[in-house]
């Protein structure tokens, strides 16, 4: 949807403003490489899983540089005016100056930006980035674009991270990633137009809401919901299940129920009343509710999707040690607390709940009420019953990906 994909803009976003002559030459080489790739087929770039000594091999001799360039999504860190308190505290303690930017809008565009640079072994302009688990993160791992983490330097992660975020299926033993935040894809609706409590995913197929239903453009999101509606567990699904789910989603589309397959813009559409009920991300809706919008969010009884935004270090990072230091720093409970109070997604550090409550005790009025809401919210500290209903995206091989996209993309992009 965008000029975001225009090459000139991408280059502007991903590279230094004043490239040196060497950079310019390398860039020329890069486009030449891109073209050469076109001419004679692209070399397969899949790498073997890192050997035992890959971690030591990468990290030996790496030193702290006192600088860190951090790429994150918008509105995804605590902010006070134009300052980032948690990052300032980090700089004060460690002496590492953080350049914090928000260039990531969605995984597709982001991966499209960094992929050619990483393929050419070129600096992407960032030492630390936040990527959602899914097709693109899987590709980045497969292509060897990420640095294996030295867990000896991540004691706070080991001590404070929730067991539920350790050793995820898409990154065994957290080899390359540790979570920044966790979120849930469920159903949001506007009680002004929707009567009664919504509990079932079948409401997204309810003809009562014809043309007022929002679905997501992302194939993994939409496919999971098709499967939940049929009682299929995405983790265990096979091609036959995908075909059934695709048929179910096609039926929904053909009946004219779906207003649009949305990206992030579903929030505005929901608030404006263009749609009444929609697939939604938990944190978005929590933020809207605290801003006074009358919206509801539920994890459907048939199931919802849990996803993780993960911190990871690109292989061309200039300041990997500084990046690793920050990754561990945000797992200190008091820092994780600063983050969760602002971000309002599920925190990977469960100990923050008591800290948020204690903080609420010191505040008054609005602030106190808000913090109590945060601590009590099932969208931030989900119940075990909710968690039990949540499933990840299916991990796909390259061959499966083609089949999967071939089934679901014609629905969202017919």
């Amino acid at each position: 949807m965008d000029l975001r994909t225009s090459p000139a803009f991408l280059r502007g976003m991903t590279q230094n403003r004043h490239p040196s002559r060497r950079d310019a030459l390398r860039l020329a080489g890069l486009s030449a490489a891109g073209l050469a790739l076109a001419a004679c087929g692209v070399q397969g770039q899949r790498v073997a899983p890192p050997a035992q000594d890959a971690v030591a091999g990468y990290w030996s001799g790496k030193k702290k540089n006192g600088a860190l360039r951090f790429a994150n999504w918008p509105l995804y860190i605590d902010k006070d005016g134009s300052k980032y308190p948690s990052l300032e505290k980090f700089t004060a303690e460690s002496g590492i100056k953080v350049t914090y930017q928000e260039p990531i809008q969605d995984m597709t565009t982001w991966f499209g930006k960094i992929q050619p640079l990483l393929a050419a072994n070129q600096d992407i302009g960032y030492d630390l980035m936040v990527m959602t688990n899914g097709i693109h993160l899987g590709r980045a791992i497969d292509l060897g674009y990420l640095v294996p983490l030295d867990h000896a330097k991540l004691p706070n992660f080991a001590a404070n991270a929730s067991p539920s975020v350790k050793n995820p299926v898409w990154d065994k033993n957290n080899t390359y990633t540790i979570p920044w935040t966790v979120g849930v894809t469920g159903i949001a609706y506007n009680p002004k137009y929707v009567d009664g409590d919504i509990t079932s995913i079948q409401e997204l197929w309810n003809p009562k809401y014809k043309g007022k239903i929002g679905m997501m453009l992302d194939v993994q999101e939409v496919a999971n919901f098709g499967m939940f509606a049929l009682g299929i567990d995405p983790d265990k699904s096979v091609q036959a299940d995908w075909e059934k789910a695709a048929a179910k989603l096609q039926e929904q589309r053909d009946a004219g129920l779906v207003r649009k397959y949305y990206e992030n813009d579903y929030v505005d559409a929901l608030v404006r009343g263009d749609i009444w009920i929609t697939m939604a991300w938990s944190g978005d809706i929590f933020q809207q509710i605290t801003e006074g919008e009358n919206l509801r969010f539920v994890v459907p009884e048939e199931g919802g999707t849990i996803w993780t935004d993960n911190m990871c270090i690109p292989k061309t990072a200039q300041n990997p040690v500084d990046a690793l230091t920050l990754m561990d720093y945000v797992y200190r409970p008091e820092i994780a607390q600063m983050l969760v109070e602002y971000i309002n997604y599920i925190t990977p550090v469960p100990a923050t709940k008591d800290l948020v409550l204690a903080h609420a005790g010191q505040e008054k009025g609005e602030d106190r009420k808000f913090l109590e809401e945060v601590a009590a919210s099932p969208l931030i500290y989900p119940s075990d019953a909710d968690l039990a209903r949540l499933r990840s995206y299916k991990s796909l091989s390259s061959a499966e990906e083609k089949v999967y996209e071939g089934l679901f993309q014609p629905i969202t992009q017919g």
């Binding site: 949807m1 965008d2 000029l3 499209g112 043309g211 649009k260 813009d265 083609k402």
Partner: protein, 283 residues
Amino acid sequence: MKRLTPYLLILPGGLWLVVFLVVPLIFMVSVSTQQGDVVNGFVQTFHIANYTDALGQYRTQFLRSAVYGLVGTVLAILLAYPVAYWIAFRGGARKSTYLLLVLLPFFVSFVLRTVSWKFLLADDGIVFEPLKSAGLLPADFHVLQTTTAVIGGLVYNYLPFMILPIYVALERVDPSVVEAAQDLYASRVAAFARIVLPLSLPGVFAGVLMTFVPMTSDYVNAAILGGPDNTMIGNIIQTEYLVNQDYPVGAALSFTLMAALLVGIFGYARALGTQNVLEAAAR
């Protein structure tokens, strides 16, 4: 040396085109017949079926884009001509101010302008809410996520590219030619139809080139204002390249689109007799 001068003059621009247009085009053709995926690599197998598969799968979107482009271009002519005419003949001393006004939208990002339509045209937004309350529109009336919204967005975003060339053509029409026609007992309508309109056709021709091509390959308007049934071929190409990273199919689609547009434009130039049009423009 003298004989070389013209060639030296086109050298910089020519090199630019060769490096940044011709070379990528050749590679795009090559990619379009490869097979594979981004992780395991693409291999040249001269798989021509990429074209037939892509065309077969996305025929609807191709046709839809062509129809949107055509309808949008015609609407743009109808809207742009009177504006250009008025500025050229009635603009007086303030001509450049009016031209600046035409260009003013370009000072705001293309995406932002399109997104702002979403607020304007929201189902219960500032335009429709009062009309619905007054009972002038049915409660489920909406414009967003319809063909109307997408074509409207296209026309809005590319209108200046139609106005400017028509204006330039009209501006060069000598008013005394029109006076002469009237002296020879042509009515105002006849003077317009037989003198002004033919003289302005080169502008219309250029305007069509500058709007039809980008409108047909546009994907921003369909992505922001469209619904499930408004996907254009540009959206598909973007998805194939950036989401699926299926470069061969993306390249096959791009090349087909380019070929179709070229054929369309040449056919149009033929039909309109560009020779005359261009000669008129050169005078």
